[in-house]
């Protein structure tokens, strides 16, 4: 007899599912980061900026890695992703008084981050239209990547890793704008379709359709079944 839960519990996604449940709990309005954001807002309202900044550092620590992953996978440029994440956190602190706990902090923050990333993509598209594309950014990323890899790392493995990265980047860049956004948020940002719906303003079923199409296209492009 088959148990409907068996799919979730019995395979390699078991760990991911547990992680996802944790994420879901974290996205609740009573989640620690949401409570922390409310505290920061209160401190700012009371004029205690020093304490507010101290608390805000906790929020930065909690969300920085995920934010960087989303921004980097979406923009595919380390410098731009770095700036986008910084801008998002600064903007969040600057507008913390407008934060309402009806939104989980994660959703509010991700929305701000994604808006910044979208603006940057638009600006890049404009630059690419009028100016010759620079190799500087790519070179910088490569340099950062090479610098982060241990010096005794196998050169062949390094080349293969670079090729894999290039293939993945190329495949993601070939996704339609909304598909790329939804896929990045869901898969690299660990957001559920419902949360992505809240972040993007898209209907949840639309998010699911975009997500499925993005995954199908990526499987086709990267050698999996389409």
């Amino acid at each position: 007899m088959s148990d409907p839960r068996s799919v979730r519990l019995a395979d390699s996604s078991q760990g991911a599912a547990a992680e996802a449940r944790g994420r879901k709990a974290a996205a609740d309005a009573s989640a620690p980061d949401t409570q922390l954001a409310i505290e920061v807002r209160t401190l700012v309202a009371n004029g205690d900026l020093e304490a507010a900044r101290e608390r805000f550092a906790g929020l930065v620590s909690a969300h920085q890695r995920r934010a960087v992953r989303i921004a980097y996978q979406y923009l595919r440029d380390a410098a731009e992703a770095d700036e986008a994440v910084q801008d998002a956190f600064v903007k969040v602190f600057g507008h913390i008084s407008s934060y309402r706990e009806a939104w989980p902090f994660e959703v509010w923050f991700t929305r701000i981050l994604i808006n910044g990333c979208l603006d940057r993509r638009k600006a890049r598209a404009r630059r690419d239209r009028w100016f010759v594309a620079s190799e500087e950014a790519t070179g910088l990323d490569e340099a950062r990547y090479a610098g982060s890899v241990a010096p005794d790392n196998d050169p062949e493995a390094r080349i293969l890793a670079r090729e894999r990265r290039a293939r993945l980047a190329s495949a993601i860049s070939r996704l339609d704008g909304r598909q790329r956004l939804v896929f990045t948020l869901c898969h690299f940002g660990d957001r559920t379709p419902r949360e992505v719906s809240a972040i993007t303003g898209l209907n949840e079923s639309t998010v699911r359709v975009h997500l499925f199409r993005a995954a199908r296209k990526l499987r086709g492009l990267l050698g999996g079944k389409s």
Partner: protein, 208 residues
């Protein structure tokens, strides 16, 4: 009669995967089918493997570029920027005296007037001298057009000096001069370009 097995569509499989990732219950019928059907189970496992591999690759990629040191530096940048949020931006005072000296309407009028007068005088003198020299040349010039090749300065590159006299009466003479120059030994390399240039006569013939 054996009933035909209907396997799950890709989107149904993907829904199961998404539900698992979100910590939600998958569709019971789909989940039951995956559990019972070996083929669909294999397809589902393959999908999970692909998607997890994709995430792992992206994680490694990001972690390689954004190392713990980079993230620490970024956090420090953020905190520094936040510290300066409340402070008004530093404004450099524009030097007011300089502004007055340059833009005040009454000050320093004498020098611009003198400069304008000198410029006007120079213009008048220049035009006058030009007219005088022009009239002398008209008297001295032998023909309507002179085109000479001088080899004194640069023997390798012929210098063509053209003195145009007004009125240009004889167009045929002008064109023949050009042909003579083109026929010279140092202009042979220009002939292919000349051959490519369409002739008016040919164009007119084509129109007719």
């Amino acid at each position: 009669m054996i009933g035909r097995v209907r396997h799950l569509q890709e989107d149904r499989l993907f829904d199961c995967y998404t539900a698992a990732q979100a910590g939600e219950l998958p569709d019971p019928r789909s989940a039951a089918h995956i559990a019972d059907c070996t083929e669909c189970r294999a397809r589902y496992d393959e999908l999970v493997q692909f998607m997890d591999g994709l995430r792992q690759e992206a994680d490694e990629d990001t972690a390689a570029v954004f190392t713990p040191e980079t993230l620490r530096a970024q956090q420090q940048h953020i905190m520094r920027r936040i510290e300066h949020l409340g402070h008004p931006a530093r404004v450099l005072s524009f030097p007011g005296r300089v502004v007055r000296r340059h833009f005040a309407p009454a000050a320093g009028r004498i020098a611009p007037r003198w400069t304008a007068a000198a410029a006007a005088a120079g213009l008048v003198i220049g035009v006058g001298v030009g007219v005088v020299f022009d009239s002398r040349n008209r008297v001295a010039a032998p023909g309507p057009l002179a085109m000479t090749i001088s080899r004194t300065a640069r023997p390798a590159a012929p210098v063509v000096s053209v003195a145009v006299e007004a009125p240009v009466a004889d167009d045929d003479a002008f064109l023949s001069e050009i042909e003579t120059v083109l026929g010279g030994p140092h202009n042979q390399e220009l002939l292919p370009f000349d051959a490519l240039t369409p002739r008016v006569q040919e164009l007119l013939a084509g129109l007719r």
